[in-house]
């Protein structure tokens, strides 16, 4: 479903020889949950940006559900993004709109018929447990609740993969647990999840696959480690 083939990414203004990603290859299967870990600047966010094609590889190829980074342009990028859900550390909500308006926005801008919008918005807000606060403005919600609105917006188009860039980075421990539980539920419903995080405690608390990055390279893939263990056995 997701495939990185020898992907190298060098940003145009980067110092000579400084690659954000270097020869990165991995695959993510349908419905899989994958953590991306590593220190700041390791390349986690670059991997996520390549997935929703905000960035293009300098060399190599990213394939996601049939869309290739070497061929997908313009309108097709928009089509791909309609099938992805993306959430960020800073929520990225429109401050002057209610929770439901923020979620509805994702449907309006892709031309969803107006009659279908309220039902889908209500369903998404219910899924994230915020149905009772649908008319609240972001500033009237806690950090965890704001992140839930961002999740509802990401889920409202029924994505096949949810891309989460440090979604718990701005949240306290309780909110983090709650958001992580939500991510597990989303994944259990069949949506693949790719989550970049610094929270190693969170990562260790589960047996989900982990890709550890450093200096633009994958230095550890728990799937490989598991295979090696099986081989040894």
């Amino acid at each position: 479903m997701i495939r990185f083939d020898k992907v190298t990414k060098i940003y145009p203004r980067a110092a000579a020889g400084a690659a954000a990603l270097r020869d990165v290859s991995f695959r993510v299967a349908k419905g899989e949950f994958v953590f991306l870990t590593g220190p700041s600047g390791a390349g986690k966010s670059t991997i996520l940006k390549l997935l929703y094609m905000e960035q293009r590889p300098t060399s190599g190829e990213v394939r996601i559900s049939g869309y290739s980074s070497n061929q997908t342009r313009g309108r097709d990028v928009a089509k791909l993004r309609r099938r992805l859900g993306v959430v960020f550390q800073d929520f990225q909500l429109l401050e002057d709109r209610s929770a439901e308006a923020n979620v509805a926005f994702a449907l309006e801008v892709i031309g969803t018929p107006r009659a279908n919008i309220p039902g889908r918005v209500a369903r998404a807000l219910t899924q994230v447990g915020l149905a009772s606060k649908s008319t609240a403005l972001p500033r009237e919600l806690s950090g965890g609740e704001q992140q839930r609105v961002a999740f509802a917006r990401a889920l409202v188009n029924d994505p096949f993969v949810l891309i989460a860039d440090e979604p718990t980075g701005n949240l306290d421990e309780r909110a983090t647990r709650s958001i992580f539980q939500l991510l597990r539920e989303i994944n259990a419903s069949g949506t693949a999840v790719l989550m970049a995080t610094h929270d190693l405690e969170l990562v260790r608390s589960t047996d989900y696959r982990t890709l550890e990055m450093n200096h633009g390279e994958i230095v550890f893939d728990s799937a490989d480690a598991a295979r090696i263990e099986v081989d040894i056995d």
Partner: protein, 282 residues
């Protein structure tokens, strides 16, 4: 329809910014409008002076009136000629008595020559065309002398050319300033919605979809700014006319509409450039 609704919503969400944009557009178009009004009035004044360009061909004494009429008809057929008046000796005397009233008793006999007074069409009153028409008239054997204020016409056209070149240069400068200010204003509106644009892209809106509401918003601001500029220009003209005691012409309906359309076009182009640049960057 959604793009139109989004554009209207943008006005409602940021009324102050919208009013600021419209006012800025209005004032830049107002400056352009004031200049246009000055140019229009100078042009009108020059046209009125130009209307006085006249060729007077004096004919020899004793020219039969039939011959005078024939020549008059021939000259009237020149493509440059608007009107020819054949003035007999008696009429010339009468005219002199009216024009020079204090000397009217001096004019007793028909000592003034008969003439053909020729008015030229607009566009044929420049020194070269006037000189060409005069040369043709001189070929008639009965024409004794031709007067047409050669120096005066040359001066008038020099003035007209200077006014034309200065007007075009100033007009272009004012238009350029208006375009830059309108572009900057629209850019401000685009920057105020950077987050909205990035979210739109993230959830799969096409660039065309993102662009449309901005183009509509820019055009609406341009139209409103244009209308406001027109109103400001009208009142400025009234006030100036009142204090400086002169009558000025205002834009006719066609020019007023063109001004508003210019505003809309500037708003549209400003938006297209600003949003385009922004979308290429993010």
């Amino acid at each position: 329809m959604l793009a139109f609704r989004t554009a209207i919503t943008a006005f409602r969400r940021a009324p102050l910014l919208s009013i600021l944009s419209i006012t800025t557009i209005a004032f830049s178009l107002f400056a352009f409008g004031l200049f246009g009004l000055v140019a229009l009035n100078i042009r009108d004044a020059l046209l009125r002076v130009e209307e006085r360009v006249e060729i007077r061909a004096f004919v020899t004494d004793g020219t039969p009136s039939e011959r005078l009429a024939t020549i008059s008809d021939e000259i009237a057929k020149y493509p440059e000629v608007l009107k020819v008046d054949a003035v007999t000796q008696a009429q010339a005397l009468e005219r002199a008595r009216v024009e020079l009233g204090e000397f009217k008793d001096v004019f007793e006999s028909q000592f003034l020559p008969a003439s053909l007074d020729i008015k030229l069409k607009p566009g044929s009153r420049d020194p070269i065309t006037v000189r060409a028409v005069v040369d043709r008239i001189r070929e008639y054997d009965v024409v004794d002398d031709v007067r047409f204020g050669e120096e005066w016409i040359a001066q008038l056209y020099r003035l007209r050319n200077i006014a034309g070149v200065a007007g075009a240069a100033l007009g272009l400068a004012f238009a350029a300033v208006a375009v830059i200010i309108i572009g900057a204003t629209i850019r401000m509106a685009v920057l105020a919605r950077t987050k909205e644009i990035s979210i739109m892209r993230l959830v799969g809106a096409t660039d065309g979809f993102i662009r449309r509401p901005f183009l509509i918003e820019g055009s609406i601001k341009g139209v409103l700014g244009g209308v406001l500029a027109l109103v400001l220009t009208y009142f400025a003209m009234r006030v100036l006319g009142q204090y400086l005691h002169f009558e000025t012409a205002f834009f006719d309906r066609r020019l007023a509409l063109l001004g508003i359309l210019f505003g809309a076009l500037m708003g549209l182009l400003g938006s297209a450039v600003s949003v385009g640049r922004h979308l290429r960057r993010v």
